[in-house]
């Protein structure tokens, strides 16, 4: 399989504040990376920066930003714009907010189909796309306005638009967070189906390690703007090494087992203007030691498995 995306030392800053502090991402065609972390860890900002969708005031820098053997960091906006949608696409957290409220679903599909350069009648293609993402009665749905559909239906419709564009890299930013459990399962099933149907690479952002376990080939755990552990999904789940990852998995297991006392990680994310000089997690870590005050490099701990911690290294 060929390399789709290679990112080295991606940084996003807001003035003096560092939101993303040097992350590396490697993604192959057909591969899914689960990007895990709590709200505020920088995972959404990192992905928005890949599509250059950050609001003004946030600056992106990277040592290496290569997509399909092309250095996309140096592209001017007018050459980068055509890549959006057709090459790199994104599914967002809030399906209801993702649609122009003044336009029907049909308009949205027609716009995406036109953007894909499709010849011939758009309607047939739209019906086919909606059917492909499991929307019942697609002809009626085309006539609906966004506020007349449920979040799950809208998320499917947005995915149908992205399927129309056939991008090679799809970022999904917590696409099931705002949906109820049953719909979440259906949307995850749809993503697994897409993984088979499209020859695309996926970056699946989630705060739920259980979701990542279902969908990702590899997992990267983000904390305070850095990736603190990355490795194959099975390894991370079976043998998490970083104390933060261990905490996350213990919490998830306790939730799954409906334990009486929840294994919670004490404390909270450091504020952006008060990041500790060394390991970002050290203030919350039970195993912290004086050496943690030094910046920690990624250390290999197994095949394809690395972490940013000096424990057992």
């Amino acid at each position: 399989m060929s390399r789709l995306l290679e990112v080295r030392n991606l940084r996003v800053t807001a003035g003096p504040l560092a939101v993303v502090r040097g992350i590396d991402i490697d993604l192959d065609e057909g591969e899914t990376l689960g990007l895990i972390g709590e709200s505020g860890s920088g995972k959404t900002v990192a992905c928005l920066s890949l599509l250059r969708l950050l609001p003004d005031g946030l600056r992106t820098e990277a040592d290496v930003l290569i997509y399909k053997d092309r250095d996309i960091a140096s592209l001017p906006e007018r050459e980068f714009r055509p890549l959006r949608g057709r090459e790199l696409a994104m599914v967002f957290q809030d399906p209801v907010g993702s649609f122009n409220p003044a336009k029907r679903i049909g308009w949205h599909l027609r716009t995406a189909i036109a953007r894909a350069g499709h010849d011939g009648p758009w309607r047939e293609r739209a019906l086919e796309l909606l059917d492909g993402v499991g929307i019942p009665q697609p002809a009626a749905v085309l006539e609906r306005y966004p506020h007349q559909l449920s979040g799950g239906m809208l998320q499917r419709a947005l995915i149908a638009m992205i399927v129309a564009l056939k991008p090679s890299l799809i970022v999904a930013d917590e696409p099931t967070t705002n949906l109820d459990n049953i719909v979440e399962e259906q949307i995850l099933a749809l993503f697994r189906d897409l993984q088979k149907r499209l020859a695309a690479g996926f970056i699946f952002i989630t705060h739920d390690i259980g979701v990542a376990a279902q969908i990702a080939d590899r997992i990267a755990v983000m904390y305070a703007g850095q990736i603190v552990e990355t490795g194959p999904t099975a390894d991370i789940l079976a043998a998490p090494r970083h104390p933060y990852t261990r905490g996350l998995i213990a919490t998830a297991n306790a939730l799954a087992a409906r334990a009486e006392t929840l294994a919670e990680i004490p404390g909270q994310l450091p504020a952006l203007d008060a990041l500790p000089p060394g390991c970002g997690f050290a203030p919350r870590c039970a195993q912290a030691r004086p050496a943690c005050a030094q910046p920690q490099p990624m250390r290999p701990v197994g095949p394809g498995h690395a972490m940013r911690c000096l424990l057992d290294a």
Binding site: L53, F92, G97, P101, R115, H147
Partner: protein, 314 residues
């Protein structure tokens, strides 16, 4: 709201408004007969005048007579104008002039505010935005009658294209009407354009930060497409709503500006009527304005429902 219910509400509002207009006039001090005939008129003449204009009837009956006539288009006769001209005829003659000036002002305000509001929003935070916003503040703070005189002073008296006084009726010459109506329409439009621009600017900026705009950009749609079909399209909803709310100020402006520029419209008819205590004329003018405001509000409601699917009856 169902159309029939809306029509019923509209009719009731017109009736209630007509009552307010009528009884407010009745409560005003002064005797119309004496002001028409003079303080020293002979008593039998005053009595005849009162009979002729139904002023001898009880107030309730006077209202019933007036409103039933008004519904048939008969607004009574003028108390002051020579020969007691039927008021309906006066209104019919002057309505096109006022409608022309009002519509002209509304279109000018719309065009100006679309340009100013859009430019300000797109250049947010720059000197251009500050300039546009300052003009808007200036526009809001200038009274229209004052602006009318300023425009006459600076434009009409220095440039030979615009007449400083008088008006060519649109039925005589449309270019003449557009030219002679430009300054008065601009004087009425400027304060409205200022309000509209600010609303449009704020609405555009608000919509620009909505998640669906980011989604459309993520699909690689061009910024002009996203602006036109999504940002501008959604900002139109508050914009059109505010235009509907401002129509009554537009009519206030019309009354004053018609006077300033000597335009023979409903506004100046109403002012003349007020000076002469010509109650039938004032009442008919007020009722006409009321119907125009209600009609415009209805139009704006319907337009908003077309623009905003969420506001549409389900």
């Amino acid at each position: 709201m169902a159309a029939s219910r809306r029509a019923a509400v509209l009719l009731l509002t017109v009736l209630a408004g007509a009552m307010v207009v009528f009884f407010a006039m009745k409560a005003a001090p002064g005797d119309p007969a004496l002001s028409a005939l003079g303080e020293n008129a002979r008593p039998e003449l005053v009595a005849a005048f009162r009979r002729l204009h139904n002023l001898d009837l009880p107030v309730g009956e006077q209202f019933a007579t007036w409103i039933s006539g008004a519904l048939r288009g008969d607004f009574g006769r003028s108390l002051t104008l020579a020969g007691g001209v039927p008021v309906g005829q006066l209104i019919a003659g002057r309505l096109p002039v006022t409608a022309f000036i009002g519509l002209y002002a509304l279109i000018l305000a719309g065009v100006i505010s679309m340009i100013v509001g859009t430019v300000a929003a797109l250049s947010r935070g720059t000197a251009l935005d500050t300039l546009m916003t300052s003009f808007a503040v200036l526009g809001v703070s200038m009274p229209d009658f004052w602006l009318g005189y300023v425009l006459v002073f600076f434009l009409a008296l220095n440039l030979p294209i615009f007449p400083s006084y008088g008006f060519v009726s649109p039925s005589d010459s449309l270019p003449g009407a557009l030219l002679s109506g430009f300054l008065p329409a601009l004087a009425i439009a400027a304060p409205m354009a200022a309000v509209f621009s600010r609303v449009l600017r704020a609405a555009l900026l608000e919509v620009m930060h909505r998640p669906y705009v980011q989604v459309q950009r993520s699909l690689g749609l061009s910024s002009s497409f996203v602006f036109l079909h999504t940002i501008f399209r959604n900002a139109l909803i508050p914009y059109v709503t505010i235009i509907g709310l401002q129509v009554r100020y537009l009519l206030g402006g019309v009354v004053v500006i018609e006077r300033v520029f000597g335009i023979p419209g409903i506004g100046s008819l109403m002012v003349d009527g007020a000076f002469g205590r010509d109650y039938p004329v004032i009442q008919a003018c007020a009722l006409t304005f009321l119907v125009i405001v209600l009609g415009t509000n209805l139009l704006v409601d319907l337009l908003c429902a077309r623009l905003d699917p969420k506001a549409r009856g389900r």
